[in-house]
Assembly symmetry: C2
């Protein structure tokens, strides 16, 4: 089997570190793994497959000889190095939102549109937003039964969605509450422990946040459905890891709960987790640190004639980011 | 001003204790306050308006001379004593769900249908479910602008909705997480600290929980709208107090965001709390321990032609239970 030279840009962040772990777990055929980050992290040691790797400076020319660069950095850093990465001959699979809506750059959830990844004329493939990936993997089976016209989604997003500093802030605030100490938020807009913050991203003129509009905008591109309508409300919750989404999915045809359950059970990337009599439904604690999107609470919607309401959870650092990027690379390699 | 003799049935629970506090805060015209609970709490002392009251046994005949009995006990206890309370001449304002759907017993949110409270032929008035009260107060102004046809709601319900033991369990579990100790849930089905539980109440044949169906069933009765359709997903979140609801409200006529905001700002029981540029939106920490329902994130829905999407928070121990019951009593007294 051919082996590949892989680089990770932003290797010291939450997603970058998870990429290292997932590459090892999935036995990605690696010849060499190179880790890149900003000055601050250069020289740090990271273990990969029993070997110690050293983080190098992310800089022009650093990508020579690589087949893939997995991007786990900011939009600015992704934009800064994208051309240089592509010119060096590597395919850049980027987790930032910098290139997601570029019509010439595929936006890919491999279970849904892996074929788009193979049509990357610019050498760049974008990894979608975390809540978008989790929701779309959950509803992909429904979309195959009957085209989805609209989704009304409310998210319950974990602190790790804000990077490694998110769960640290939650932990610190929990300690402060227990010790009666003062709380000064820094990662989140307000205290997140024992609270909810209905703002992720910045506000647009239509009253939605940038994060909220991603599910519609990215969903249209991934599902090849330019008419898809999504109303999304994104809320940060005091959870460490795994995003949850309450979704009402409006379809063209009326579906039965049984056919939806059967389709989800058979769908790649999903786990039907729906046995309410035995209190089996997705929860963040159950779905963290693994790659499947758990789907449960599947029932006929009451407001709409043709809609299914469900609840899904998935680990947004893994399937919502690191794993999805590596699955894109897997879709491109010789098997 | 006439003064009234008031009893609280279930005075030692979370809602009962809050009723004592709210009666004092609102200067309810009280001649005598009597507190009743089960054997376990008899003899306990509680302060009210600078005086020490002693909890008495809830028993047949205990209500003699009372004008109002506020019920803050279980369905079973409410059913056990309702007839006896009414026969003694008191009006029974009950927070349990025992009588809510009885067609001869009014179900009242005073800002919406106070007139129903005055038509209590059986001497019993029911206090609605907490999430239902908060959501309906938030959307009441919208319903006056254009009849509501449907609501798609996802709740984020605080631990205090499970009674006084709920926040205690959250606190204990937060300590256990920080100390690396084991967690054994007892109040909730699963660990609630750093987790979400998409089950409140028990499951019905249609896949919804008893709690989820309350918003439609009780909403129809309160709004005098038998055709109202509500899809609700109820989720327990690791918050101490204040329930939050993400709601898409489908109306007969298309409403503008500006007219909705103006109507909510002018609506009794609501506080328009919607200035996203300045990060002003309802949050549990901001809305706890007060009586208004805060409404924000008001925007045009994307999926439906005629719908408004919003986010609201309210203290479910107060407006969702204790305060609403006392407001019902206020609607019945001579002023």
């Amino acid at each position: 089997m051919k082996k590949y030279n892989v680089g990770i840009l932003g290797a010291s962040g939450a997603v970058g570190r998870e990429m290292i772990k997932v590459l090892e777990e999935r036995n990605f055929p690696i010849e060499t793994l190179k880790l890149f980050a900003s000055e601050r992290s250069v020289g740090k040691k990271v273990e990969f497959c029993g070997k110690e790797l050293t983080i190098e400076l992310a800089d022009y020319g650093a990508w020579a000889g690589l087949d893939f660069v997995l991007g786990a950095a900011s939009n600015a850093v992704a934009k800064q190095f994208a051309d240089d990465i592509v010119k060096s001959g590597a395919v850049f699979i980027d987790n930032s939102s910098a290139f997601r809506m570029d019509p010439d750059i595929p936006l890919v959830v491999p279970e849904i549109n892996a074929e788009d990844a193979r049509n990357n004329k610019k050498g760049i493939i974008a990894n979608p937003n975390c809540s978008t990936i989790i929701t779309l993997v959950a509803v992909n089976a429904i979309n195959k039964l009957s085209k989805i016209k609209g989704i009304v989604a409310s998210t319950y997003q974990a602190t790790s969605g804000a990077g490694a500093a998110g769960p640290v802030e939650l932990d610190e605030q929990m300690r402060a509450i227990i010790n009666g100490a003062d709380i000064t938020p820094s990662v989140f807009q307000y205290q997140i422990a024992e609270n909810l913050i209905p703002q992720i991203g910045s506000f647009l003129d239509n009253g939605y946040t940038t994060e909220e509009m991603k599910m519609q905008n990215e969903g249209r591109k991934i599902l090849h459905n330019p008419d898809l309508k999504v109303t999304c409300t994104c809320v940060r919750v005091p959870v460490v890891r795994s995003h949850s989404i309450s979704a009402t999915v409006v379809t063209e045809r009326k579906l039965t709960v049984d056919e939806v359950k059967a389709a989800i059970a058979a769908c790649e990337g999903c786990k039907l987790y729906d046995d309410v009599e035995n209190k089996i439904y997705p929860m963040p604690l159950v779905t963290s640190d693994q790659d499947l999107v758990f789907v449960g609470r599947i029932r006929e919607d009451i407001v709409h004639d043709n809609a299914i309401t469900l609840w899904c959870c998935g680990d947004q650092v893994r399937k919502g980011a690191a794993t999805n990027a590596i699955q894109i690379a897997e879709a491109l390699i010789e098997k």
